[in-house]
Subunit: 368 residues, 2 copies
């Protein structure tokens, strides 16, 4: 299973794996793919720096990348205190009421009450870039499309290519015009921020629009070798997988308290996700739980715009996560969750992708 992507990055398999866990990212790279560490959870750039030191030491010299969350236009943003003032009291009261109704306990007094995820803020995302470029990274991917021009210039000056997610062909064209080196075609079925157009339609559309200029990765709905073969048949140079790594043993090494989340994912079907604005303010696909259902009740307020919505729910996320209750999990995941039926080592997932891919190709060859 080799494509041009393998030569471009010096990897064995055209599998790019996005994950917030350094243990997962390193395992993906060691297994022959390209592990991409999500930076949004690092409020403190120094912590990211330490984790990337760890990555440098635990990837056997193999390439890895980072993922940031950064809009192309720098938004006006005040300090965290200013932003917090923009959250209506009614929204706060609703979150408190829902947590009470769902029996999500408060955090213990001695818990470090973190400010929530600040990586959505431009200044914090920018610090991720500066720190990451001090390490031997092979890719900077941006979940919100083209990064600002100076970030692209900075990456290119350091010899690091840039990838951007796109949910429409016109967005992909804009990214490439902006200097982006790889486009990730993110279909409707994907976890996290996602558009309306499904992978089967979106991937060849983006390949036709920009494929002669840059490699296109297929994201959304991929968790088996058959789906990898389908993505490559559609014209993708490789796959971008995110959700699937949530059900790996390595994920627990980074996030030890994720047992309830993994239990919820392993029990879910492909029908158990919902595309909603309650996680960040922009449409993102999440596991459907009692938490997401609460936001569809008649008394639920409209979600706030990014970055306010995530600030609103970040403390709730901490409480939900600490509760360990699978029925209230708040977690971005794609429709592929239906295929995540057990918690496995990363290397096993990748071995199955490879063997499934070979089987699919052998089957296709018989149709000629």
């Amino acid at each position: 299973m080799r494509t041009s992507l393998c030569d471009r990055f010096g990897i064995e398999l055209p599998i790019v794996g996005f994950t917030p866990s350094e243990h997962v990212a390193a395992a993906i790279s060691r297994a022959g793919g390209l592990g991409v560490l999500g930076c949004v959870r690092f409020n403190d750039a120094a912590e990211l720096d330490r984790v990337l030191d760890w990555m440098d030491e635990h990837t056997d010299g193999k390439p890895y990348g980072v993922d940031i969350v950064m809009p192309a236009k720098i938004p006006e943003e005040g300090s965290q205190v200013d932003l917090t003032k923009l959250i209506p009291d009614g929204h706060r009261a609703f979150v408190d009421k829902v947590l009470r109704e769902l029996s999500v306990p408060p955090l213990p007094d001695d818990t470090d009450e973190r400010a929530g995820v600040l990586g959505w803020l431009h200044s914090v995302a920018r610090s991720h870039v500066d720190v990451a470029l001090k390490h031997r990274i092979s890719l900077i991917a941006n979940a919100l499309g083209s990064p600002p021009p100076d970030v692209i210039e900075l990456a290119h000056a350091a010899g690091v290519p840039v990838a951007a997610l796109a949910g429409k062909a016109e967005h992909a064209v804009r990214h490439v015009d902006n200097g982006v080196d790889f486009v990730v075609a993110q279909g409707y079925e994907a976890g996290g921020h996602t558009g309306e157009i499904a992978s089967m339609v979106l991937v060849p559309e983006i390949v036709d629009a920009v494929g002669s200029r840059v490699p296109v990765l297929a994201a959304g709905g991929i968790g088996s070798g058959r789906q990898m073969a389908a993505a490559l048949a559609l014209g993708a140079a490789g796959v971008w997988m995110g959700s699937f790594w949530l059900a790996t043993e390595e994920y627990l090494q980074t996030m030890a308290d994720s047992g309830g989340m993994q239990q919820a994912l392993v029990g879910a079907t492909s029908a158990d996700t919902v595309r909603t604005r309650i996680y960040t303010g922009k449409p993102a696909r999440l596991l459907k739980t009692r938490w997401t259902e609460a936001w569809t009740a008649p008394d639920a307020p409209e979600p706030l715009p990014m970055p306010l919505q995530n600030l609103l729910v970040s403390q709730a996320h901490n409480r939900i996560h600490a509760s360990g209750d699978p029925s209230v999990v708040s977690m971005p995941v794609g429709q592929i969750v239906g295929r995540m039926d057990r918690v496995r080592p990363v290397a096993d997932v990748i071995a199955e992708l490879v063997s499934g891919y070979e089987e699919a190709l052998a089957r296709l060859e018989k149709t000629r």
Copy 2:
């Protein structure tokens, strides 16, 4: 491009083409696929009988099928007059207002004011089955899943296999348990009645659930050889295509007044569809136009349940269609509409599917 489906039906290509046009259906069968004629538009079984006589004569002895719309449980239904009484006045007033605002003219006085599409009614759909079984049909497909048990028995007694559409794996299992011989896995991106799970995830899920018992056809998002290759990589034994035939020359031979509709489809992108209950009462994907947008206005009523909603809008559909205005078209179509960029003969579409499939396979083989 041969699969087990070809042997099963005695066809050259594993392409099943659903269409309300006998000219399109016959052309698909003559080109080596299996044309499936949609019966829902035939209020008069005698008219269907005449059209199937025509099919028998114009398919060069090659196989073809029919498609009905029939729930597994026989609903209580009165006469058309009784049903009409169940439509609230407010709904009628809204439709009249929208047609006025969209400048859709009334039908000329001499137009035969048809009762609307009655094929949704069980009694009418049942008459389609009885008529179709008098012809040399090779398949009865049902758009609403398993047909009633006696219809399956009747078809099997006549040696005719039955296909059913499914948007979830559990529905596919139920269909096969009911005796259905083929399952059509209809992804979110498909036109017409559709569920929430996209083809990339749904097709392998349904193949895993029932693929060892019956062949699975992939529907939704297919309009190129690359997408056919993807569908077969996912484990499908063939593809089911509906939307793509709307932009063919043969379609105009049946529906001469469809120029405005074809113009609208050819100009649309993959983002120009919407999944809504306004066509039949059940969620169906339509071309997004000023007509569908009118139903999202704050003053728009909730669509009525099946079959009332289609009775409500059937006269509006006639007026819209007669107007020839592309901006108000009411037409089920999938996200593949973005790839429908010109009106072509059916044979050209199929030739391109075949050559694109071969190219995709050649590309995949280079990855080994």
